[in-house]
């Protein structure tokens, strides 16, 4: 878990063709890991379906590494690309 960093929140991004069950699939992986979903938004960027989800890892039962691995596996199953990054990365790059 990214416990030593400033926040325990992660940003999960799903990019690919829209289809039934993407949100359900991703939330199931997060729920299994004990990561609490804080917010979900979805949009279409260029022609791609993009889902962005923020989750809190402070009560998570698995490491961030392990969660990323599970999300990537789930992404392969569903034919979409799933990335997970620590919130600090976005905070540092886009907010002063």
């Amino acid at each position: 878990m990214p416990g030593t960093t400033e926040s325990n929140r992660i940003i999960v991004t799903v990019i690919g063709a829209d289809r039934v069950g993407i949100i359900a699939g991703v939330s199931a992986v997060l729920a299994d890991a004990g990561a609490n979903i804080v917010d979900i938004s979805q949009t279409t960027l260029r022609e791609f379906f993009t889902m962005i989800l923020m989750a809190d890892m402070s009560q998570a039962s698995v490491s961030f590494d392990e969660l990323k691995r599970r999300l990537a596996t789930k992404g392969e199953e569903m034919g979409v690309r799933i990335d997970a990054q620590h919130e600090d990365v976005f905070k540092y790059m886009h907010r002063v």
């Binding site: 990019i15 917010d39 993009t50 989800l53 961030f64 990335d83 620590h86 990365v89």
Partner: protein, 457 residues
């Protein structure tokens, strides 16, 4: 609570890392060896080995941990140490004993798992002590028998002028380093830099050393990302220069913020003070990781065309401006590197004759460092190499900037042949130097006096 970032911002970050080679090029731990000096050089070397292993033991693991946590590649973990000439001085040892010191450093670097260790160095811009001379004499063999040790010699500063005796020595040292590594295309020279106005906190190799005003231990971060900058330049193909500079500046800001994030994390996890972030556009031979291509994207048919110096000046300055705003402590070299062998666009331009040695020299007046990773004919006289170093040091001295020379006189090769180093060091065509002799000039010896700091024209 809503996601506090727009989808565009999130996707931009992901794109930079995954498609445009944004990476943390290096986390470099600076380690002072000043407490390792000893009358017996081998004892000093043992103390240096112990200290490096103790302080940097977790460096690689922490780097890997940060990489996983933030999803940003951290390409290299490295170490810089106090210029070894300062530590060896007390021993009064002969050059061959200094080579032993380099072997200890090489073993320490291997032990902690870093690929390069810099600081086999001497600062002789005003004059050399016996320890400096012994170290400089030992450099060719030290580079030949070690794998990870990098050497550098500061031969001039704006305040001291240029030590032309040291410059002449370096001509011979570079030539000898090539000869001793002739079986590997003279790779010893790829680990050897002659500087003017060297900086104390540069995290990039081969020129990194831990300066004498630095704390006992410090973490410096080098960020790169030519691909990210090239992408924004391509997005504004017809923009006037002000807009182009602003676009580069904004991107440089974002890239440097990643360095700040990683530097702070590394500092906290290692329990070592955070030194500086150095945003240097450092190319690699990988596709899309080229500084030359950025200049070409600005509208030059090939790098080396007239306008290249102006394009590089704009790029270098915009990168510095963006970087300076993004980090509490910007330092090191910060700007754009223009090595030949490490940049696919440069290799191509040099191979077809679009860029020449003289144009590269002109460009170093406005880039962040100097003549870097250029292969020259193997039979180049040592005096000519020294004269190249003198020219480059003069550019740095007069313009109050860091300049450096890292030339590889490729053993047994001539203009048009290629040298192959592999990996990050890449490959390069052998470029022509001016064939006329500089020997009598170099032989004068002594110092070129420090320049006036007023009446600047």
């Amino acid at each position: 609570m809503a996601v506090p970032y727009s989808p565009q911002e999130i996707v931009e970050t992901i794109r930079m890392v995954q498609m445009e080679n944004l990476d943390i090029r290096t986390i470099t731990m600076g380690v002072s060896l000043r407490d390792c000096a000893h009358q017996d050089l081998e004892t000093a070397a043992q103390k240096a080995y112990d200290k490096i292993c103790r302080l940097a033991g977790r460096l690689v693991a922490v780097g890997d941990e940060i990489e996983r946590e933030y999803g940003i590649p951290i390409v290299n973990k490295r170490i810089s140490v106090t210029p070894v000439a300062l530590i060896g001085e007390a021993s009064g040892a002969a050059p061959d004993r200094y080579v032993r010191f380099a072997e200890y450093l090489d073993r320490a670097a291997g032990e902690v798992g870093v690929n390069f260790l810099g600081g086999y160095s001497a600062l002789v811009h005003k004059g050399a002590t016996p320890g400096d001379r012994a170290l400089i004499a030992s450099i060719p063999e030290a580079l030949a028998v070690t794998e990870r040790v990098c050497a550098s010699v500061n031969v001039g500063t704006t305040r001291a002028g240029i030590n032309m005796d040291a410059v002449a020595d370096m001509g011979r040292v570079v030539t000898e380093a090539a000869r001793l590594t002739a079986d590997r295309d003279g790779i010893g020279c790829a680990k050897l830099v002659a500087f003017c106005n060297a900086v104390d906190d540069n995290p990039f190799m081969a020129g990194a050393f831990h300066g004498i005003g630095e704390p006992d231990c410090v973490v410096n971060v080098g960020v790169s990302g030519p691909g990210v900058v090239m992408n924004v330049v391509q997005q504004v193909p017809d923009a006037p220069f002000g807009e182009l500079a602003a676009a580069i500046k904004n991107t440089a800001f974002k890239i440097t913020r990643m360095g700040e994030l990683v530097g702070r994390a590394a500092s906290r996890k290692l329990g070592v003070p955070f030194g500086i972030v150095d945003l240097s556009l450092a190319p690699t031979p990988a596709y899309g990781d080229s500084v030359a291509r950025i200049l070409e994207a600005m509208g030059l048919e090939r790098v080396g065309a007239h306008g290249s110096t102006a394009a590089l000046a704009l790029l270098n300055d915009a990168v510095k401006k963006g970087g300076a705003m993004a980090s509490g402590y910007v330092g090191g070299l910060s700007g754009a590197f223009i090595p030949v062998s490490e940049d696919a666009g440069m290799i191509e331009a040099a191979s077809m004759g679009a860029i020449t040695f003289d144009k590269l020299e002109a460009m170093t007046a406005v880039c962040s460092v100097g003549l870097d990773m250029i292969a020259v004919p193997g039979d180049t006289p040592a005096e000519t190499i020294a004269a190249v170093i003198a020219d480059e040091a003069a550019i740095g001295m007069i313009n109050r900037k860091t300049t450096a020379v890292r030339l590889v006189p490729a053993p047994g090769k001539g203009v048009g042949d290629f040298v192959e180093f592999g990996g990050l060091l890449g490959r390069a065509p052998v470029m022509a130097l001016n064939p006329h002799s500089s020997a009598a000039f170099v032989r004068r010896g002594g110092r070129i006096p420090a320049p006036l700091q007023a009446l600047n024209n």
